[in-house]
Symmetry: D2
Subunit: 149 residues, 4 copies
């Protein structure tokens, strides 16, 4: 992702106004004695799901969901069990069939990772990417307008 997509500082708590707390598990750690990178992908997904689901209007559109197209994670420092990771999430852009989100993961004030993802709107019956309904798109745009700059 280039600067046009992520012009903002994901290592800074002020960048986010959507937060998901994830508790670290003992089994998230690996033989190096720190949280394994795979677990970090699960933390990011927990945030992504909480951020995006409310905008999909699944009561109205039961076949509408989203799927991951691209994920990238930058690991900024080691951290260990036990503890809580606060995952800040942002909506960055909405395209025709896809949208971009970014994340900052913090233990206290320390940024331990940042992440970005590209997702597509996905029809779970047809198993393919789709153009979302207008009212769904409107919710995405509303969200983007309200975020910290």
């Amino acid at each position: 992702m280039n600067e046009t997509v992520r012009p903002i500082d994901l290592t800074c708590r002020e960048t986010f106004d959507h937060w998901t707390a994830v508790t670290i598990r003992f089994s998230d750690q690996d033989p190096l004695g720190h949280v394994n990178n795979v677990s970090v992908a699960a933390y990011v997904e927990a945030s992504r799901t909480m951020l995006i689901r409310p905008f999909l209007l699944q009561d109205k559109y039961p076949e509408l969901d989203f799927a991951l197209v691209h994920l990238e994670i930058d690991y900024k420092g080691e951290f260990t069990y036990p503890g809580i990771v606060d995952v800040g999430g942002r909506l960055e852009r909405v395209g025709t069939k896809s949208f971009t989100t970014s994340y900052g993961l913090f233990t206290g004030d320390k940024c331990v990772a940042t992440a970005g993802s590209v997702n597509c709107f996905f029809n779970t019956q047809r198993r393919e990417s789709v153009v979302p309904p207008d009212d769904v798109r409107a919710l995405f745009e509303e969200r983007m307008a309200s975020q910290p700059v």
Copy 2:
């Protein structure tokens, strides 16, 4: 585990005075649309580690840890993401080289699973079960004496 080992009602919150909160992750769920049994084993371990670690005096005995010998889980009902599982943990018995613990997992007041485990005191250098130091054993016995009956 028979009635001698678990004479108490693990489906009842009052049975526990040690609690570990675990946040459910989207990826804990499986194609049946509920939290997968494997994730429940991770929740139990998170509680077990928080319950037992303080008694091992690892600053004084850096080679002392514990390992799992036997695990059993009873699944009481379905539950889904998102949410928090409150895991109550109890120390049930301390033997020469092993100890027994039991657990109740709750979403709100609903008990979703109970569990029991047998663990051994484990020397991480010698890679074998060991008799714990007297002051460690004393901490285990103190804990057992203070728990709800």
Copy 3:
């Protein structure tokens, strides 16, 4: 599970004629430098699913699946990444709405764990345990009759 349920030696390869190979992953390991107990539950599930799914006739009964009611695992020894775990699975008993299975996990000829589970036949639409169709039950009974004694 008592001797009536598991009268056979699960630590012995000859006990099994259904095998599922599971590759160990680096992230299955924990800070003790060995495969974590939670991963073992995932290995058992991989075997259970391969053992049971063919008997459910899901093309004919799309709402029929099974869910876990009780799981127990005995950990027999440490093992590490990389490697393959051969999981042997057996069908032990079929009741009205439930069935019992047991497992032996091997790295080479070394038994690293044994396991048992109680499962219920589960209707994924009604979200409840059910009595299976007669032809499904017949497949379970056929399987049991053909296993090593």
Copy 4:
């Protein structure tokens, strides 16, 4: 990662001569009925570890390991349990304290994902990135020279 880093086609089996087979697990799947993105990160790590570990000469340098700095995954298509994912891995570049690797994940001939990672040489005692010994670097360079172009 730009074109200079990955000038080659990661969706093509011929790009790789290092392969790691990973068995898909039932619990790798999520409520959308396909393998979850988090599991894909574990598959990539299994390949990365098998690819890199032999070059670290850990018998000679017991404190030398590597840690992940950056991971990116492109998801090319859905896939499900059961099955095997063949993960092809390549070493792309070695810098002063870091190295770059890339991956292609295949079920049969279908490419289901590609990935790239930046890793640092890591001293497990000092908990920091380090310049690797000359003979380790030589092994990395030898590996790069021998790969398919």
